[in-house]
Amino acid sequence: MPALAPTICMNERELLDLLLADARRSTEDLARMLDADEAAVDDAIERLEEDGVVGGYQAVVDWGEVDEERVVALVELNVTLDRETSYADIAERLARFPEVQTLQLVSGDYDFDMRVEGDSMREVSRFISDKVAPVPEITQTVTHYVMDTYKDRGVNFGDGDDDDRLSVSP
């Protein structure tokens, strides 16, 4: 029998929503918002992590605001499969590289959508030409360098909406 995906109960689903919106909230605040005990929230988070539902927590960084070069490229990959090699095999091989931030199998004109990050264009180009393109199953790569990011993982990088409401109103 195939392993079943872990089931998420109602309260945990709401906890997930809260963590998705802001993973840095304290357990104490989460407990208040969920009307639950802190211990129960801690347990639930631990369970979500152990079951692999929550894979990690990261900051959403606007590199345009940092005085440091950061290069992001979106790479389209085409592959050919054979009896011995599956998409998962190729993916596993690529995902091991720390330069690969995101790797997804997608529908459409190409097979994999890969997000690569590096400290310079040279570094990213070299990675793709030296490490990715030579993989035997990969037949084609198309690299798009990101020129500007406006929104990432639901976070808008523009100026926030100022609160222009009157301070006291009926």
């Binding site: 709401e14 929503d17 809260l18 605040d29 918002m33 969920l34 301070s167 006291v168 109103s169 009926p170």
Partner: protein
Amino acid sequence: MSEQDRSGDVDGTGPGGQSEDGAFGISQRVQETPPSGIRRFFELAEEAEDVISLGVGEPDFSAPWAARDAAIHSLEQGQTAYTANRGKRELRAEIARHVDAEYDLQYDPDEEILVTTGVSEGIDVALRAVVDPGDTVAVPDPTYVSYAPGVTFAGGEICQIPTTEDEFRLTPEAMAEAGADEADVLLYCYPNNPTGAIMPRKELAAVAEFCREHDLVVLADEIYADLTYGQEHVSIATLPGMRERTIVFNGFSKAYAMTGLRLGYAMGPPEVIEACNRIHQYTMLSAPTTPQHAAIEALRSCDDEVDEMVEEYDRRRRFVLSRFEELGMDCFEAKGAFYVFPEVPGGDAEAFAEELLTEAGVAAVPGDVFGDGGAGHLRVSYATGLEDLKEAMDRIEAYLES
């Protein structure tokens, strides 16, 4: 925000109620209407520095982007003319579909729905349409600040009904005690501003029976209907024998975060909507056009955004309730709108609110402003981001300990 914006009236009452020497003899009914107590707090809050405001009676979200985008598109298309007096037919049809799906309310978009410039206009025209001089309008106490002045402007008399001390609900007993059996109209707002109280089905049915028995018509301001937590909103017009004696008001300000776009609607039997429209067509012509385009899109495609906002309010509600409990300030579990209504230590809400503002840098409106029934309480709005709410509650805690 510019100084000019800031100097605007927050509640339309203007700075003074007294007639001063000048060319104009200010009318009796205006002179008799005191300026709202909200204004004093607004001015105090504006003077203070580094204030976190829990005194805001409107959402902190912006209208869903799809709705704003539709409004922008309509402007690009040059749609800046009047609409039909009753509002765009397309909008009325969407409203009819929406209230049927959400509240089991069935209204004919051609004859039973009037789109107004906010619920405020809807209530104003309805009061003027049904109240004759000397008629009595019963309102719960505490309640929203605009009802009593609206009744005065329409030439009616107010009958205040004290609400229950634990949950701020209307009961037939309190209505009878206050003499509301002699009243002609019941005007209320549930989910309630300022208390956050709701009227569950059973309690509402008792009020409906009282209205049928004593022949009151009902003006039901349901602007917060979408904002209930763990309990579904029940519209009084869905109860037996009530549809024919009720005007239901709702709008886009709260659920769709469109307060400044000023758009609401009134729904009721054809003859009374026609009467409301008689006033509306002469005084307003039509509700503003651009917001009507936003509203059509809001009803068509923004359910998810509304659900998300409601979930967020609920989390903040639970956070604030849990903090007040911890601070030892008694606070009933408000299940609607975006207000909680804790009791203040010592019982003098005006003094407490003023000190909280000047000493602790937290603005909240004293309950007295909403009527005697609100005395001893504070209206705390949680239409503010969680970080600010946390900080405000910490400040209140520090203030209570000092």
